[in-house]
């Protein structure tokens, strides 16, 4: 597939350490003009570090970087951008107070007379970009309040806003729905035909095989494999990533289904979800499926009392929960693993130990003071049980990879011995190996009689893990499936609102 002599962008023997942690070694990577290269690996394998090095966010410790065969050195994201490298980062980098248009062109506003910003031109340009991405968003609308999917679209528009020769995408599709992913891919294909070099990071194998020409696999901070996509099978790819065979991604245990733990009765939040009623019983895993924005997370937030419902009520083990009171929900025995672990699941600056034991502060304290020895004992116990990979328990949670961060969030809730565990996208952005571990954990919990309410956008996860599947569409429960009934096609049909008659 290499259509050009010298690769557009090349990294040779790059290394990067954060303190004692070697995040990257043997960083070798080349992307040519007209090539889409997938970068794959488990979380913590060093993919994000490579992206940061290429994007000028961090500087490599050693090795060289070449653009068009010429050695370059980026001191800031600005330098990378000037070299024609556009990056879509995993974490949102938007400015909530500013308009979509300004978010897209920030720092590179089109200028008119006297170097004043030409707003008309700015809006035209951004409108054209949004049209190209096939979304109906008003460029003059503020970004605040946009759904995650729309925010992702703005990120993509931002990266496409200048004539980038290299486009690096760190999990751009994580929050997108099917048609949106398709549109993004058609734009990527156009860019490829125009001769751009594209580096694409995703955990979704089907996407990688749909769009990539070649693939680089990383493991434990090093590049371990480099292949043309045609010359590798999905199974081999997974094996190279995890360094071992994956027997089962979804180790579902048979469990005894017990008493009703959670009862949700006619729950409504104006403009978000309507008339939602369902039950979750002990030992049962119930999946809430649906498209992004269907209101699944919002239902979960209302059940846990983060948002107050406008009508309806929630019962836990027969007792009604006061609306809008997460603390009461916690005391009643609900654990909540939120979708956005960076912002809502963890306190990134606090230590791993503190994060893992936050929910147990009361029992760890003596006379109101937390004993760090007890904190460490408890944290270490859970770290072992969940096979957490960490350097020191005193390191900030931010130092962990995504999958390990999720384990800390799980530890935090599991130590409270919840009756009901709500998990929102438990494996989003988590590598294959850790994914299976999280699945095993959830399955074990259900086996111990915990009721699990799982929100997931990944169909294999829903079908593989759930005893029952509730499908939401536009804020309403569209259809319910038993484990036996649920298959990919019927769930998708219900989620896209084409199965109303059947319900």
């Amino acid at each position: 597939m290499s259509r050009a002599a010298a690769p557009l962008l090349e990294l040779r023997d790059a290394t990067k350490s954060y303190g004692a942690v070697r995040a990257l070694r043997d960083g070798n990577l080349a992307v040519g003009s007209g090539e889409v290269r997938a970068l794959m690996g488990e979380n913590g394998a060093g993919k994000s570090t490579i992206v940061k090095v290429l994007g000028g966010v961090v500087r490599r410790d050693a090795g060289s970087m070449l653009v068009d065969g010429q050695p370059v050195d980026f001191h800031s994201p600005h330098d990378a951008r000037d070299a024609g490298i556009a990056v879509i980062y995993q974490e949102p980098t938007l400015f909530p107070d500013l308009s979509i248009a300004e978010n897209v062109v920030m720092g590179y506003h089109p200028l008119g007379a006297l170097r004043r910003i030409d707003r008309g031109e700015m809006h035209r340009r951004v409108q054209a970009l949004l049209d190209r991405l096939g979304v109906r968003l008003d460029p003059e609308r503020p970004v605040r309040g946009l759904s995650i999917a729309d925010q992702q679209i703005v990120e993509i528009a931002k990266a496409l806003s200048f004539e980038a020769r290299v486009l690096i995408m760190d999990e751009p599709t994580a929050a997108l729905s099917g048609p949106e992913v398709e549109r993004l891919f058609s734009v990527v294909r156009t860019l490829r035909e125009e001769g751009a070099a594209i580096l694409f990071i995703s955990h979704r194998l089907d996407e990688v095989f749909a769009i990539a020409d070649s693939v680089t696999v990383m493991r434990d901070g090093a590049v371990v494999h480099d292949a043309q996509i045609a010359a590798i099978t999905p199974d081999e790819l997974v094996r190279r990533m995890v360094g071992r065979e994956l027997s089962a991604l979804f180790p579902k245990q048979r469990t005894e289904v017990g008493e009703t733990v959670l009862k949700v009765h006619r729950l409504t939040r104006e403009g978000v979800f309507f008339d939602i009623s369902f039950e979750v019983r002990a030992g049962e895993i119930v999946a809430l499926a649906g498209l992004v924005g269907a209101g699944r997370s919002e239902v979960a937030r209302a059940v846990f009392g983060i948002d107050k419902q406008d009508a309806g009520h929630v019962e836990l083990a027969g007792r009604e929960l006061p609306p809008g009171k997460p603390l009461a929900a916690m005391r009643a025995g609900i654990g909540f693993v939120p979708e956005d672990r960076r912002q809502q699941g963890l306190i990134m600056d606090l230590s791993i130990a503190r994060n893992a034991t936050l929910t147990r502060m009361g029992t760890l304290a003596r006379a109101g003071l937390i004993r760090s020895a007890a904190e460490h004992v408890l944290a270490r116990e859970w770290a072992t049980r969940l096979q957490l990979k960490f350097h020191r328990l005193d390191d900030p949670a931010a130092f962990l990879s995504g999958g390990n961060q999720q384990k800390v969030v799980l530890a935090k809730w599991l130590s409270t011995e919840p009756k009901l565990l709500i998990v929102d996208e438990p494996t989003r952005g988590i590598d294959v190996g850790t994914k299976a571990e999280v699945h095993r954990l959830l399955s074990e919990l259900a086996g111990q009689g915990v009721a699990v309410l799982m929100i997931s956008s990944e169909l294999p996860e829903v079908l593989g893990m759930a005893d029952r599947v509730l499908v939401m569409h536009e804020g309403r429960l569209a259809q319910e499936f038993s484990r036996a009934e649920a298959d990919e096609e019927s769930v998708i049909r219900a989620a896209s609102g084409r199965a109303k008659a059947a319900a």
């Binding site: 309040g145 924005g293 609102g497």
Partner: protein, 349 residues
């Protein structure tokens, strides 16, 4: 591709446009609210005490607000970047004494030069603040709290207990503080020009927009290629320079300057900006709002003095106004968020 691509929500653009109008309306209502409050205040005070509506009295009102408006414009630049400058009162004191000292010793000195030196001194102070905040990576609150005392201390050392008196200052300089040009006090004209220049810079120039970006999401700004350090530094330097300008204007207006000139101004200035809708956590607000906030604060103080209300109540009134403004922002913010959320949810569904 594009034919099957149309998302489900056909009314999306209309919703989006409504969302935009909503936010625009909120900002307008914000500045309008201050103007209405201002009008009511002047009206009520005028009814209770007609002397308040004398040309002289209103003139004084505008003159007092002018210096605060200049400082508030500078403060807005810093606040928008999610920083704060507590040292502006002390910087004003330094440059006020500099202007008085220079002119009493060299009465023939060209006035533009005095203004330039005052602003340069302010800019130097701002540079120190900015360097400590950006390169030193110390929070602005701590840095400028420190320099508040340091600059004031320097002023005490420098003046050594002496003061500059109006008699020793040249008349053309003092006239600046009282004279009018086609009926409008020169001080007010200067303040308006400053507001307009800074306002335009923030609205229509890349550097200005980047300040908002930095305040709205500091990490995001860096990733977008904004040279944040440089921008924040320039915001502090400009705020310092404007505080310096305020100092020269202070001397021109009051004539008498000692080491305590401008003590406590920083809080009034920040209050003015916040009342005018500048978010203390950065990202939003305009200098025009801040200017209006300064005018409203000045008017309240004056009207309470005219109505012979005790000093304690003046402070309480300002405090109450501040809380009211913040509560209003929060309330409106929540409602707008809810409205935007509803629209976005409907669109995505």
């Amino acid at each position: 591709m594009s034919t099957q691509a149309a998302p489900a929500g056909a009314p999306a653009p209309a919703d989006s446009a409504r969302a935009r109008r909503l936010t625009e309306w909120v900002f307008r209502v914000r500045e309008l609210g201050i103007i209405v409050a201002l009008g009511l205040l002047i009206l009520v005070t005028g009814i209770l005490e007609p002397r308040f509506l004398d040309t002289d009295s209103l003139r004084n009102l505008a003159l007092n607000a002018s210096i605060f408006a200049v400082l508030a414009a500078g403060q807005t630049l810093v606040l928008v970047t999610r920083n704060v400058d507590l040292s502006v009162g002390s910087v004003l004191g330094l440059s006020a004494y500099l202007a008085g000292d220079l002119l009493s010793k060299h009465p023939g000195m060209a006035l533009p030069l005095v203004f330039l030196l005052g602003m340069a001194l302010g800019a130097a102070c701002g540079l120190l603040n900015g360097v400590l905040v950006t390169w030193g990576q110390v929070p602005a609150l701590v840095v400028t709290l420190g320099t508040l005392y340091v600059f004031r201390g320097i002023a005490f050392l420098w003046t050594d207990g002496s003061q500059v008196n109006a008699e020793t200052l040249p008349d053309p300089f003092l006239d600046l503080g009282t004279d009018s040009l086609v009926g409008v006090p020169i001080l007010v004209i200067i303040a308006l020009v400053v507001l307009l220049l800074v306002g335009q810079w923030l609205r229509d120039f890349r550097a200005g927009r980047e300040l908002y970006a930095i305040g709205s999401n500091p990490d995001g700004a860096r990733l977008a290629g904004v040279r944040s350090e440089r921008r924040v530094l320039s915001a502090f330097v400009l705020a310092g320079a404007l505080a310096g300008l305020g100092g020269v204007l202070f001397t021109a207006r009051f004539g008498t300057v000692d080491a305590t000139a401008g003590v406590g101004y920083e809080l009034t200035v920040i209050a003015a900006a916040v009342i005018g809708g500048v978010a203390i956590f950065g990202g939003t607000g305009s200098v025009y709002g801040a200017g209006l906030g300064a005018l409203l604060l000045g008017t309240i103080t004056s009207s309470l003095i005219v109505l012979k209300v005790e000093a304690f109540w003046q402070q309480a009134a300002i405090g109450a106004l501040l809380l009211l403004a913040i509560a209003f922002d929060r309330l409106v913010g929540l409602r707008v968020d809810a409205a935007l959320r509803r629209r976005s949810a409907r669109r995505a569904a």
